[in-house]
Amino acid sequence: MSTQIEEQRETEEEVETEPETESPGERRRAVKRERAAQREQEVETALDEAEETVELKVFRYDPEVADKEEPRFDSFTVPYHKGMTVLDALIYARDVYDSSLTFRHSCRQAVCGSDALFVNGRQRLGCKTQMGDLEWPVRIEPLPHQDVVKDLVVDMEHFYEQMHAVEPYFDPDETPDGELEEQRQTPENREKIKLSTRCIWCGACMSSCNIAAGDNKYLGPAAINKAYRFAMDEREGESRKEERLRIVEQEHGVWRCQTQFSCTEVCPKDIPLTEHIQELKREAIKSNLKFW
């Protein structure tokens, strides 16, 4: 212990004295070189020690950086361990090889919906996709059908606009009088909307949808599912439900769905999106035919 403290003191003294002879910039570069050499060593050992390594082919694009203006794929070799997710591999590549590798991520447990990516030709959440379940090398691209801001980051603005277009908020015909009076909801009704409430706004469904790709005005599976979540909630009341149906039955609403099931297949929360869209179509027809 004591020796460690002394070593520590020495380094501190160095810090105190060295700036006299070296400029901060020089020192910084020296430290950087030292760290870089050390890091290279560490990476080599890590790659040697790892029983397996896996190659990532990652889409790169940055409108501001000369050699990234034209999109390209970069390869990273990452040591593999059991349980490694696509997100883990990307973080390794970024922290060890290239700190400019850009992607959204936060919770790492499939609830924040930040890291929907196009992995080996399919929309998946990076954090809940096991590297071991994929074919190697693993190709990672930003979500298709959305503009790329940089590397794996896509512009989500349009997705959010569509979500907001369905008036995605609880808005009952009437609320209970008493301050501590709750609205009643049957367990069956809660069960009916349960799956639809699981949406994490990751955008995988929208990206997988051929119709949304061609028709920019199409509300898309996520937004329609959001409308379903409220239209089917018995607490809101009949007149609000009618209004909600009117929103989704516009020309670029539910009718555009061609039941390709691509959204349902990629949904990381297993929401039966196509089923919900179909049910809203029937609800809309029923409410318009009236005699059903």
Binding site: R28, T129, L180
Partner: protein, 625 residues
């Protein structure tokens, strides 16, 4: 420059609730958040929301349970206010459409939870946080509240009076992640920090990667003290590779913990002869780590949580979610093999010192949620108490900032509340490194800290014109970012990893003096290294390298505060366990640990715990369940 009455930083549960409350009181409010609101980590909360709703239950009982759970380090006015207002907040959420789990009669279900004398935890499946977050974001959309998403707030703009209590907060400086633009958010009434946890100070945490203690660190550096930072809750069952939480429900249903020799160690080593695996979180966490440290861990890292004997049917019925988590995040089939688990950082009880209205000692600077310390949870938070906290105190901060009339607060804040100076034997100097001459100093340096600017101003007076305060803060941030982008330096990730490793190694569940000191030395070294960081990515477009580099500075400040507090507190209370001090010592330690950032150097002092509540005074008793 953007201008609003109230600026809320962070759009998780507390931020959204605060924004809605301020909006309802007529304020022009805006949310500024580094993530899109629905990406906030409130969404990861599983368990539920405690509130005394049943006629047989009462807020007094909830308050008593909370106070007992806090190991008598909670402040009674906060605890009472919390327990009284939680029911209204829960019903409010229900009125906003939250899909609570329901009883047959259509009423909101409530279930029992650890440390509660009555089943008062309302929930929405095992995804309560997700539903709470989305329900409130939807209400924000309904009200048309402005949201600046993917704007990273890097600094709080505060006047530079010598005494922190004389300072006023006039806004924040934000960095738009997509474009690299730096701009000011001028707050006419107040700034509410609701930035959440600091789990990234540890390398194994249930927290999101975005939980880097930004609010705590920013407030700390402009003079709002940090309170009780040593109290960190560790959850005993998290997956080793990712830190994903495996709910207590597995052990509740009968899951068993085994060591490498397949011994049921909770009993065989006598850690909890009665409760076994179901002993309280801190006891189980300590038992697991003891096994690992004594060489009986699997791969020297974790233990096994086995639920196979429960049978496929029961597992699928009650714990299906757990199967998915183990499969998706660890590649383990819980029906076929035991799941690896180890303790992980889960929740920070301490934070920015505020009163019941969410006010810090700096005028116009508020904090709510996990980044704040009211103090409600004291030394240990009960399960299901975090979500109601962010509702109650988020709403109160929003109302107060919007100018609502409220009672005189009973919890004192700021240096004036000091009851005694603190003394702690530190192995290295804490706080900033060097003389602070590094201009923008990736380190933050004395320049980045308003106190230095105050001392160096040629006219010697305090900058008091609000716009000027913000302008100067914007300039400082532009300098900082320019320098980081232009200069050559090391990757922040190395520095962050160093801090995280030492925190997990030395300031974990077990706290021994020499380890805490080692952590402080490592943190010091990390500060040294941080002076040499640079951002390799030259782009202004979505530069996460830059964002993470700035966050790492916040992580360092938080880690240091936790460690100093842990070294100072010489007793065993709640989540804080010291090897040399195995008892709670009420005679000496019934007080809050406070850290004030004075000219770049943390100063330790204490303030008394307020045990006098609204109707009753709490008597510290032995905490046994």
């Amino acid at each position: 420059m953007h201008e609003h009455d109230v600026i809320v930083v962070g759009a998780g549960g507390a931020g959204l609730r605060a924004a809605i409350a301020a909006h309802e009181h007529g304020a022009d409010v805006a949310l500024v958040t580094k993530l899109h609101p629905v990406r906030s980590h409130t969404g990861a909360a599983e368990g539920g929301i405690n509130a005394a709703l049943h006629p047989e239950d009462s807020w007094e009982l909830h308050a008593y349970d909370t106070m007992k759970g806090s190991d008598y380090l909670g402040d009674a006015p906060a605890v009472d206010t919390f327990a009284k207002e939680a029911p209204n907040e829960v019903i409010q959420l229900e009125h906003w459409g939250m899909p609570f789990s329901r009883e047959e009669d259509g009423k909101v279900s409530q279930r029992p939870f650890g440390g509660l004398s009555h089943p008062r935890t309302t929930y929405a499946g095992a995804e309560t946080g997700h539903h709470l977050l989305h329900t409130m974001y939807e209400q924000v959309v309904k009200r048309g509240i402005e949201v600046y998403e993917e704007w990273f707030v890097t600094r709080v703009a505060v006047t530079d009076h010598d005494d922190p209590e004389g300072r006023e907060c006039h806004g924040v400086v934000g960095y738009e992640i997509k474009t690299g633009e730096i701009d000011g958010f001028y707050a006419r009434n107040g700034v509410i920090l609701a930035t959440g946890g600091l789990g990234q100070a540890f390398d194994h945490t249930t927290n999101a990667i975005a939980n880097t203690g930004d609010g705590q660190a920013m407030a700390y550096r402009v003079g709002a003290p940090m309170e009780d930072m040593e109290f960190v809750q560790f959850h005993p069952t998290t997956l080793p590779s990712t830190g994903v939480l495996i709910s207590e429900g597995v052990r509740g249903e009968g899951g068993i913990l085994y060591n490498e020799a397949e011994e049921r160690f909770m009993f065989e080593y006598g850690y909890a002869n009665n409760e076994g695996e179901l002993a309280s979180r801190d006891v189980v966490s300590r038992a697991e780590l003891t096994q690992v440290n004594e060489g009986r861990g699997i791969e020297d890292e974790y233990v096994h949580l086995d639920m196979r004997h429960l049978g496929e049917e029961r597992i699928l019925d009650r714990l299906e979610n757990i199967l998915h988590l183990a499969e998706d995040f660890e590649g383990v089939d819980g029906l076929e093999e035991p799941m690896p688990v180890k303790p992980g950082q889960h929740y920070q009880m301490g934070g920015i010192e505020v009163n019941e209205h969410g006010e810090s000692c700096i005028d116009g600077l508020y904090a709510a949620g996990e980044c704040a310390c009211v103090s409600l949870h004291g030394a240990n938070r009960l399960g299901g108490n975090a979500l109601p906290e962010l509702l109650v105190f988020g709403a109160r901060a929003g109302r107060h900032a919007a100018g609502a009339e409220m009672d005189e607060p009973k919890i004192p804040t700021g240096p004036a509340a000091e009851s005694e100076a603190g003394e702690v034997d530190l192995p290295v100097e804490p706080g900033i490194v060097g003389d602070g001459s590094d201009p923008v100093a990736a380190d933050g340096g004395r320049e980045a800290d308003d106190s230095r600017a105050r001392q160096t101003r040629s006219d010697g007076g305090a900058v008091a014109i609000p716009e000027e305060v913000l302008e100067r803060a914007i300039e400082a941030e532009r300098d900082r970012v320019d320098t980081l982008l232009e200069r050559d330096g090391i990757n922040h990730a190395d520095v962050r990893a160093k801090v995280q490793e030492t925190m997990t190694e030395n300031v974990n569940v077990f706290r021994e003096e020499q380890n805490l000191k080692q952590a402080l030395r490592d943190i010091r070294e990390a500060r040294e290294q941080y002076r040499h960081v640079g951002v390799a990515d030259p782009s202004r477009t979505y530069n996460t390298d830059l964002i993470h580099t700035i966050e790492t500075r916040n992580v360092i400040d938080c880690a240091e505060a936790i460690t100093i507090g842990a070294l100072a507190r010489e007793e065993f209370r709640g989540a804080h366990w010291r090897q040399q001090y195995q008892e709670r010592r009420d005679d000496e330690w019934l007080k809050h640990t406070m850290l004030a950032w004075e000219d770049g150097t943390p100063r330790l002092y204490y303030k008394p715990v307020v045990l006098e509540g609204h109707d009753q005074t709490y008597e510290p008793k032995e905490r046994s369940y």
